[in-house]
């Protein structure tokens, strides 16, 4: 009796399976189709051929002074000469603080006693950024730079330091 019932259920199930398996797998196939999108893993890689880096020089009014002193204030005048490339920016830092920035090849700024951390000799850092002429993508959009640094010892010997 039980065996007959099981056989009947199995037969019915098999019959249904026959009918619905094509539909089930067709649905499965359709559901998976959107995953079959076009793909291309190739990337066009280039080794840029660099041009010569720009010729550059910087002069300041402090070049000939030894530990220039900041009394009330000290003016710093700079001039950049660059050929075969582009000048981007100059930053001037004293005591880890940026005191001046410019994209001009000529300019000036003032150093005052309150810019120093303490009395005594501190360092004025000037960073000059130029194009690399590397012909990389970063170079072409100005996101890559050559850096020239200038360090000048400054004597903050007056009251007014931080």
């Amino acid at each position: 009796m039980l065996w007959a019932l099981k056989s009947s259920i199995f037969a019915t199930f098999t019959s249904l399976m026959r009918k619905f398996i094509p539909i089930f797998f067709a649905a499965l196939l359709l559901a998976g189709l959107p995953a079959c999108l076009f793909t291309d893993s190739e990337v066009y890689y280039v080794e840029p051929v660099p041009d010569d880096p720009p010729e550059r020089s910087v002069i300041t009014n402090l070049d000939t002074l030894n530990n220039p002193q900041v009394n009330d204030s000290l003016e710093v005048i700079y001039q950049v000469e660059v050929s075969g490339g582009e000048f981007y920016f100059v930053y001037a830092d004293v005591a880890s603080s940026t005191i001046f920035e410019s994209d001009s090849i000529y300019g000036s700024f003032w150093i005052t006693p309150d810019m120093a951390d303490s009395l005594g000799v501190d360092t004025l850092y000037m960073e000059f950024y130029y194009s690399t002429n590397s012909n990389s993508m970063a170079d072409m959009i100005g996101y890559e730079a050559l850096l020239d640094s200038l360090k000048i010892a400054i004597d903050f010997n007056q009251q007014g330091a931080k």
Binding site: R18, P22, L29, F38, D40, S136, I141, E144
Partner: protein
């Protein structure tokens, strides 16, 4: 393949009954002239000289159809087809990369009629014609990375167009199923692409009066399996 194998095993009906189901997979070409044009335009905006590494080549296509034997030599049916293609342009060097992927996919619903030109015990040759409505999805994705900075943008577009195709199929009959190949040519009447989100048309960047279109016109070649069903 597993799916097809199971379907074949599961089908125990004999040939010559009321209808059947067909599965086909293969390659399909497309014109996509406007998409190629857009791809070249995007490439021209790269800061460095990139290259197109693929431009809408023949690519994967699938279809599934239900048919009914109307007369001895004529089958009528309806079905769904899917095909995809795309294009890629890129530039990369030590400082970063910029990549644009355009991916197009088509979903086609349509009706077809086939006429048995030559029929034997084993080989059948039939001609067929088909009318479809095509829903096209196009994804345009550009992203770049330069040193530690990266960004990107993705846009989705959609179009609907009517299409017609003619082809031929050559099938080899086994006991309970048939296998073979079909090939043909599809003509897409092209649909204007619109942004999937806001519905704005995708216009020609150099002529804003012209809307860019999808175009699946091209040939197709499929391997095909047919299973007879009793309905």
């Amino acid at each position: 393949m597993i799916t097809l194998s199971m379907l074949l095993v599961s089908a125990q009906q004999a040939m010559g009954q009321g209808g059947g189901i067909t599965f086909a997979a293969g390659l399909e070409s497309s014109q996509m002239d406007d998409m190629k044009y857009l791809q070249e335009h995007i490439l021209s905006t790269y800061p460095a000289e990139g290259e197109i590494t693929s431009s809408f080549p023949p690519y994967t296509s699938f279809s599934i159809n239900l048919f009914k034997v109307l007369y001895d030599h004529i089958h009528v049916g309806a079905g769904y087809s899917y095909s995809t293609t795309g294009g890629k342009s890129s530039y990369a060097d030590y400082s970063g990369h910029i990549i644009t992927d355009i991916t197009a996919s088509s979903h086609r619903l349509g009706a077809y009629i086939s006429y048995l030109v030559m029929g034997g015990d084993r080989l059948n040759l039939a001609l067929n014609g088909r009318l479809d409505a095509i829903l096209t999805n196009v994804s345009v994705e550009s992203f770049y990375s330069i040193y530690n900075y990266s960004d990107g943008i993705e846009n989705e577009y959609r179009s609907i167009s009517p299409a017609g195709s003619v082809g031929a199929e050559l099938m080899y009959n086994f006991k309970s199923f048939s296998m073979g190949t079909d090939a043909g040519y599809l003509v897409d009447l092209q649909g204007n692409l619109k942004d999937s989100g806001n519905g704005n048309p995708l216009v020609d960047p150099n002529d804003t009066d012209r809307v860019l279109r999808s175009d699946w016109t091209g040939w197709y070649v499929h391997l095909k399996a047919l299973i007879w069903l009793n309905f």
